[in-house]
Amino acid sequence: MAIFVKSAVIRIAVATVSSGLLMVGIAHAADESTASMTDAQKAALQKIIETCSACHGLNGRSVAPTFPNLAAQTAPYIELQLHAFRDQTRADPDAQAYMWGMASQLNDASISGLAAYFSNQSAAAGKSVNATLIAQGKQIFMEGVPGRQIAACASCHGAQAQGNGPFPRLAGQHAPYLLKQLLVIQSVLRTAPVMHGVIKDLTRDQMQAVVAYLESI
């Protein structure tokens, strides 16, 4: 059963990665489109980046854990999320409170420009709090929880949690933010088809361990 679940997850993951490859293509286009922007467009993009930085921090490294770090996040993931905010298909409470408004006036070129900008910033440094929790979390991240048919997070998010196309970078992300995302995904307040299956049996303690690990790297 465990093998079946894992392979099913991988199948979905492969399908998502395939669409992700398409997104990677878009991201490259985004780089090019940023390069080919007029000065006025670049200035407009800079203005948007300044707005983002009010919550997400200078260069995408945020202070308050309510707001995720964006620095070094994968460009396809940023694009997907900004589209989901703009289209109001990502509907968790914070998405509605903050990002529906913030993304409402972004056009496709701005979204691509933002994804290109933030993905190119250097990542926030990790911070370690609880070594025992981190060790537990590392094991879950690297190996999953076979007894509960939970796949290894690393299989999609990368061995260093660096992200992979549409699968977000998790390394160095604020633990409270990650925990909240796991909770809203598990309760389906936030739609994330692959994740719903993977984490449906993840306990809160396990979540806390894995996010502690991710924040530490």
């Binding site: 260069n59 308050a64 408004g101 913030m102």
Partner: protein
């Protein structure tokens, strides 16, 4: 709000003084859904519990209220310079406050000696305000409040702050560069432009009864100048840490005789410098700011005397500390401010509005607030004003005077808040006085005790 110091008692117009005192203590209240409509974000982005600002709310204000996520009506000239950027929906909001006030002991009737006024008063409305709050053009925004005051029974200009803000980066390479906002503010109340809730214009209590008696003395910066001056200032916000501002204020009294003459009171003379310096550190879910602010203002007492010759000078120097914790469920705020005022009353002394040529006032305010999920919360505040005695400024008089000629008042404010929705607040407040105008018992020389002024204030406060 009117400045009410060195004149009313001398004139023997206690009713006027009472109105002045009540106004000083009266409600001040702001929270504007038009910002939410303009940004597309809920109140929680900018406010812990309105009107107190979050770090993002401070950024929004420092950026000139211009952040928008709404369709714009735009125009450009032939050189591609933007000539217009106007919200397609005007940033108009409305606020209504309905209140109930009960003082521990009813106040004397204003006309019939020996009779008492009705106690347990409903004000419908206590205040009703219209706001223009939002973007005007690129880098230009405004917060303009017009308020109908249920006690004064008229509409008038309330707190107003029009500001221009320009963002720039300099020095270092990407990732290490400095970020700065340079701004200009045009406003009508010193500290209304401030972004921390420790300074008077936006300080605790955020609302209070406008019919209960208030203490006789307050420093100039603590509300006495609100809507009677106009100020123009420049400010800088550097790297999300450092705030520095210098402004100049001059007389700009609304109503009464114009050009301003002897029938006005507390008329600012010349240009009064106002300064503000603050440092804020943010970490995790916390923010801590430490700052100083103050004003050096000269005024003519007016009130029957010419607006010429000697002036009164007030030098207010203040320090403030604010701490905020904004968790998912639990929100905690601590506010502290201390104001020291040196008064050199050359004009009032000469005109016998004051018995001393120099006086001092010191005000301390400490507040702790807690909110659970921005829904249920409470606050506890301590306030104290002390200063030098003055037989004329603080003369004995029923309710509003001081039997021992002292400006000293202190007490506590306890508040319970329930917000069924983010833009609706139900509030119960109790103000308890330790000391009122110098004494605990028979403070006015007419038998009234400080605790007789203890006030229960219930408020329904809606913004839409």
């Amino acid at each position: 709000m009117i400045g009410m110091r060195p004149f009313a008692l001398h004139e023997g117009n206690l009713r006027l003084l009472a109105i002045g005192l009540l106004s000083l203590w009266s409600a001040k209240s702001w929270a504007v859904p038009s910002f939410a409509r303009q940004t597309g974000m809920t109140c929680a982005a900018c406010h812990t519990v309105f009107p107190e600002l979050t770090p993002f709310g401070r950024e929004f204000k420092l950026n000139g209220y211009v952040l928008d996520n709404i369709k714009q009506i735009t125009g450009i000239d032939i050189d591609s310079h933007q000539t217009l950027a106007l919200n397609s929906i005007p940033p108009i909001s409305m606020m209504v406050q309905i209140s109930y006030t009960h003082t521990s002991t009813a106040l004397p009737d204003s006309a019939l000696p020996g009779a008492l006024a009705k106690d347990g008063e409903v004000l419908f409305p206590d205040q009703a305000s219209f706001f223009y709050a939002g973007k005007i053009a690129n880098e230009l925004g405004a917060f303009i409040q017009l308020t109908y005051d249920g006690v004064a029974d008229h509409f008038g200009i309330d707190n107003t702050d029009i500001r221009y803000a320009h963002h720039l980066s300099f020095g270092g390479t990407d990732g290490n560069s400095h970020n700065m906002i340079l701004g200009v503010t045009l406003n009508n109340n010193p500290t209304v432009q401030d972004v921390w809730n420790t300074t008077p214009a936006w300080g605790f209590p955020f609302s209070g009864s406008s019919v209960a008696p208030g203490p006789i003395a307050a420093t100039q910066i603590d509300g006495a100048l609100a809507q009677s001056v106009a100020g123009l200032g420049v400010y800088m916000w550097l790297d999300d840490h450092w705030y520095a501002e210098i402004s100049g204020y001059t007389a700009a009294i609304v109503g009464g005789a114009h050009p301003l003459d002897s029938t006005q009171s507390n008329v600012a003379h010349g240009l009064a410098p106002y300064w503000r310096l603050a440092y804020e550190q943010r970490w995790d879910r916390n923010s801590l700011s430490v700052g100083t602010y103050g004003i050096d203002i000269k005024t003519h007492p007016g009130n029957g005397t010419a607006l010429q010759g000697p002036t009164d000078q007030y030098k207010d120097v203040a320090g403030d500390i604010q701490y905020q914790f904004i968790g998912e469920d639990h929100l905690v705020t601590v506010l502290a401010t201390y104001i020291h005022e040196n008064q050199t009353l050359n004009a009032s002394f000469l005109d016998q509005f004051a018995a001393n040529a120099t006086n001092t006032l010191k005000t301390t305010k400490l507040t702790g607030e807690y909110s659970y999920q921005r829904r249920i919360g409470g606050s506890l505040g301590y306030f104290s004003t002390t200063g030098s005695n003055d037989t004329i400024l603080y003369a004995a008089a029923p309710v509003v005077g001081s039997a021992n000629n002292s400006p000293d008042s202190s007490g506590y404010i306890a508040e319970l808040n329930y917000l069924p929705w983010l833009n609706t607040k139900l509030q119960l407040q109790y103000v308890a006085y330790d000391k009122f105008n110098g004494l605990r018992t028979n403070y006015d020389g007419s038998g009234r005790n400080a605790s007789d002024n203890n006030t229960l204030y219930g408020l329904v406060w809606v913004n839409f």
